[in-house]
């Protein structure tokens, strides 16, 4: 046990003193979350709003004034035609165009008839679109209520152009978790082990009475800890900065994540047993882990859309299963039982990889 502790201590010291690696290990998740999060940041500002009205009237002017006064929006002007409205969206002059019907505000609204307003939004940036539209509706309703004392008379019809299904809004958080944990654990573990082969320290460790599995376990512990830290960072940033819901069981999410981390570590271990230099370990990690994790896991493209051979190949990409788990547990708020299948797949992969790794890693140099 004492031996184990000193191994772990050494490993931590080495990680902590390698400033660059440290920066990558801990900085990467933060940077990635922030870069991706910028696109869907809750804090929507400077949404350019134009409007179209065939015949302008005082109510329309008042409503638009109120919208312009809101800190979220910039009033960019009036479009001459529906055609112009769409052009404004396409060219990016406007993010949202409010189209007023002729009846809107023409006279006192007819009892029981809702005012006709259509909101066109450029949803290629889904976050700005959805948030902008929500705030816009709110502003309009409030104005209308104050003005007429009548609730819900404005019930605008919203059309989201260019990305109607609003895919990928929260998708990147599970994807990013799958990617970061895989990279940090697998790549860093494999490089750390191979580095000791390169510097010759592994030879001395092997010749010592220390058992091989202990050397490996000691390598994994610090990266497990760092990964747990990363997991916490990602979850905290996602929930508190990006406002991604955490609707399911946190305990279940953490448990499956821990399992996934262990799977990643065992993959790293396996890679390290096959590779001889840090450079090849790095390359192999990138090719076999990073690219499939990004492209074949559903992180960027839905797996369902993949060509058939790649679809089957995606079955062996660990992140594909993990991302489903996180989506279901975190965003959809489903109970643990809903991810039982995925969890079992990850568990099975872990057992297989670990067995392979330990079998390959013998306590000799060949």
């Amino acid at each position: 046990m004492k031996r184990m502790l000193s191994f772990v201590k050494k490993e931590f010291l080495l990680i902590l003193r390698d400033k660059r690696t440290m920066l990558i290990l801990l900085g990467l998740p933060v940077v990635m979350i922030l870069i991706f999060g910028f696109a869907i940041s809750d804090d929507v500002r400077n949404v350019d709003v134009a409007y179209y009205a065939h015949r302008e009237n005082i109510l329309i002017v008042k409503v638009m004034e109120r919208i312009g006064a809101n800190e979220t929006f910039n009033l960019v002007g009036r479009c001459g035609s529906l055609r112009e409205a769409e052009d404004a969206l396409l060219s990016g002059e406007a993010d949202i165009v409010v189209c007023f019907d002729d009846e809107f505000g023409a006279q006192q609204p007819i009892q029981g008839k809702t005012a006709s307003v259509e909101i066109l939004a450029d949803a290629s940036d889904p976050n700005t679109a959805s948030t902008g539209v929500a705030i816009l509706k709110n502003v309009m309703s409030r104005y209308y209520m104050e003005h007429t004392g009548n609730e819900s008379l404005i019930n605008p019809h919203t059309r989201l152009l260019y990305n109607p299904a609003m895919e990928s809004t929260y998708n990147f958080v599970p994807g990013l978790m799958g990617l970061i944990l895989m990279l940090v654990c697998a790549m860093m573990t494999s490089i750390a082990i191979v580095r000791e082969k390169e510097t010759g320290t592994m030879e001395v460790l092997l010749v010592s009475p220390t058992k091989a599995w202990m050397i490996l376990l000691a390598k994994m512990v610090p990266y497990f800890v760092v990964s747990c830290f990363n997991l916490a960072t990602i979850l905290l940033l996602s929930v508190y900065v990006l406002g991604v819901p955490l609707s399911g069981s946190l305990a279940a999410l953490i448990s499956v994540s821990a399992l996934y981390i262990m799977l990643a570590l065992s993959i790293g271990l396996f890679i390290s047993t096959v590779m001889k230099t840090q450079v090849t370990a790095m390359l192999i990690s990138v090719i076999t882990l990073m690219l499939p994790t990004m492209l074949l896991s559903g992180m960027i493209y839905p797996c369902e859309n993949l060509p058939l051979p790649l679809y089957y190949f995606s079955m062996i990409v660990p992140a594909r299963w993990y991302i489903v788990v996180v989506k279901k547990l975190m965003i959809e708020g489903l109970p643990f039982i809903a991810v039982a299948k995925e969890t079992l797949v990850i568990l099975a992969m872990f057992v297989v990889m670990l067995a392979l790794g330990v079998k390959k890693f013998n306590d000799r140099l060949e």
Partner: protein, 306 residues
Amino acid sequence: MTGLGVEIKGVVKKYGTLKAVDDVSLRVSPGELFGIIGPDGAGKSTLFRMIATLLLPDSGKITIGDRDVVGDYRDVRSVLGYMPGKFSLYQDLTVRENLDFYASVFGTTVGENYHFISDIYRMLKPFEKRLARHLSGGMKQKLALCCSLIHRPQVLLLDEPTTGVDPVSRYEFWEILKRLSADGMTIIVSTPYMDEAYKCSRMAMMIGGKVIKEGTPDDIIAGYNGKLWKVSGREVYGMLLAVKAYCGVVSCDSFGDSLHVVVRDDIEGLRSYLREKGYDDVTVEATKPTVEDCFIELVRDGCSDR
């Protein structure tokens, strides 16, 4: 303390078609300071790794005491200290952290065995808190030695510990090895520097995977066949070319400020030849061969046999 003997019998190790170690047999007695001398690529490191249980011989047998390096490799590892070719330190750990770590790897503590390494560690003590990467070659080498000694091994394997190390550090290092050997530890050390052969009690010369000669340095020198002449003068390079062009010369090699020459017949012929060529300040005298002369002779003879 008494060390253990090491016996190597008919060991072969192949990489593909290349025989890295080719039928090597050696016997190292307990407490010996045994040198394995040969250039890069002679198979020294492969041999060391087989002794250190890290590689399996294709054929042959190696025993340490009565433990077989293949069958009883766990037992072997507990009595072995091994310092691989590269200094095998953690560059990002300090001097003291490296030592502490290796101590615990071998299930001991620095405190427990400090007296054993204190002689060497005294020199490192002032730099305990310095990262290993900031040590000079000589200091790294001493620290690596401390690390491989901290568990009081009975057999110490040092693979080229002095390569790339300056002459003063090398000298000090060999003094340390001599002391350890005098205390009874069995030490096998490899080196590409022929002059270090004299520090060993016995040695083997290796080239191309084979041991071409084994014995005490004196034995090896006594086995030198030719009659060696030392030719010295002002312009050594010119003289070297001149002597090489002389028809009666068997071999001529530069040794520092002079030439070591073996002639076929009478040395007077060479004397007068050199005078003719205008080298009139030349002194020619009989000299004792060095281990390096022996190595060169053995390899040359080996080449002409083939």
